[in-house]
Symmetry: C2
Subunit: 294 residues, 2 copies
């Protein structure tokens, strides 16, 4: 972290798991003097202030952003366009605007449609960290330590805004990567969006199975871990599905083809084929875990 | 646990995660004097003896079972028929034969085909406990504490054998349930076999995605938990798929229909429909976790 990196005022719009954890981490790092929290629920903001996550409450978004050095937008994706429209031109000169949305192509498109005067200050971002829990309750200062933060700057983004956002993430322990919004959306569709959809869908399938009472009674540890992400916030995930529709549908299609493949192997009792399918999958997963530990 | 429950000799055929954990737990409970280990790999048996999991090694299965009070068969499902054929009639009078296979219908059918003199002593069983790890290395005495052990006795099973097997599991902390082999196989297809197949298939899909290097680089905690079971033993899971084929294919079919449903909702941008789908899934998963904790 650069010694000179200082945020006099950080404004967090949407003080939930991610916004709250960023506020906590930046305050904890010593880089940030004051955190202003903004959001639709006054009760949530007051709770966040009592928890020490934010220092000041301001529900008027224009007032909330006007003195900020950095504005972090951490609302569900669906709420971004209206918010951008309101704050365009309201930030002071040199301020940074960044977001944490899980899909980037749509956000970039919306930014181009809604941000006229503030587009250069906007750095689309996404920390690869989270939890099936949501809300400021679950926020903590260590959430981003050692995790990846992906930035997807566009042509219009100023180099200063990118550099500042990079230091912001580095300062709270994240490893920063840059890629295009399109590359981000394809990678995330595969590693995050598809697994979430599978977990939600599995719960759906089991809910509509005749013996569902027994099913849940006899579920073991594997089931618990596998379905953990099905406890994630439905609104957030609805918005992700709408925002990253094409990449998600493409992954679902690929997955479907593979499900048909393993179904056929099982139907035909193809012992060798099934073993090969599972062995490749296990090898890939074991290798991933080894890499993850290094 | 009944005070009178004593096993002078326990024979474990297949000293891996489950067989090894049963041996450890029964010795730890004080109910079992001596554990004889049997299996194809002498190196594994010698390792298990050095670890204190078993006391005696005997690779001849007929000799291994002849003095046992209880014989636990903990080999992959595919190895069961040949084993049953060899040990039929070799157990002493009053001894119990039980297994721990993850699919019961096929085992019962094979038992009826291969066990002539020992069928009454056979209690098909399945502890709902395990790990993506396998082998005696991962075995531990507490694996079954508070977990379910399902017994699926058949018409031919003697009441004494069922009672003895029940006490054996209770004595190491498991809660014992009885159901038909068919009911067992349907429940397990839903809660265990389907999730394992989805995890294996997801790894397969990602492995064959162009950007797979990046994909694994940017995978987060949700992905790690979701795919944990894809590190499970491929031979064991190949055998489960072959043994419980019909119930598994039925679940895959149901799941496929639900994947088509959510794909359609996403394709059509049906915001309300997606939210409802996710909300139901989350509610079911949250409720399951609450029940699991009680």
């Amino acid at each position: 972290m650069s010694q000179s990196f200082r945020i006099t005022q950080l404004t967090v719009i949407g003080v939930g798991l991610i916004g709250g954890s960023m506020a906590r981490a930046l305050k904890g790092s010593g880089a940030c003097e004051k955190v202003l929290g903004c959001g639709r629920s006054l009760a949530n903001l007051e709770y966040a202030r009592r928890l020490g996550v934010i220092d000041v409450i301001e529900q008027d978004v224009v007032k909330a952003v006007k003195d900020a050095d950095v504005v972090v937008v951490a609302v569900p994706l669906g709420a971004i366009p209206e918010l951008f429209r309101k704050i365009d031109g309201a930030l002071k000169s040199g301020a940074i605007l960044t977001d944490v949305g899980s899909a980037k192509g749509r956000v970039v498109q919306q930014a181009r449609e809604t941000l006229e005067r503030t587009l250069g200050a906007f750095v689309p971002g996404h920390p690869i960290a989270g939890s099936e829990q949501s809300g400021v309750d679950a926020s903590h200062a260590g959430l981003f330590k050692g995790r990846c933060a992906i930035l997807t700057p566009i042509q219009e983004t100023t180099p200063e805004a990118v550099a500042g956002t990079r230091r912001l993430w580095e300062c709270i322990g994240a490893r920063v990567y840059e890629m295009t919004p399109e590359a981000h959306d394809q990678v995330l569709a595969a590693t995050s969006h598809l697994p979430h959809l599978l977990a939600y869908t599995l719960m759906h399938t089991l809910l509509h199975t005749e013996s569902r009472e027994q099913i849940f009674q006899f579920a073991a540890g594997g089931f618990k871990d596998f379905t953990r992400i099905a406890s994630s916030d439905p609104v957030m995930w609805r918005d992700i599905c709408l925002a990253n529709r094409d990449a998600i549908l493409a992954m679902l299609q690929k997955f479907n083809t593979d499900i048909e493949c393993i179904s056929r192997l099982i139907r035909e009792g193809d012992s060798e084929g099934i073993l090969e399918f599972f062995s490749h999958a296990k090898a890939a997963r074991d290798q991933y875990i080894v890499k993850d530990k290094t």
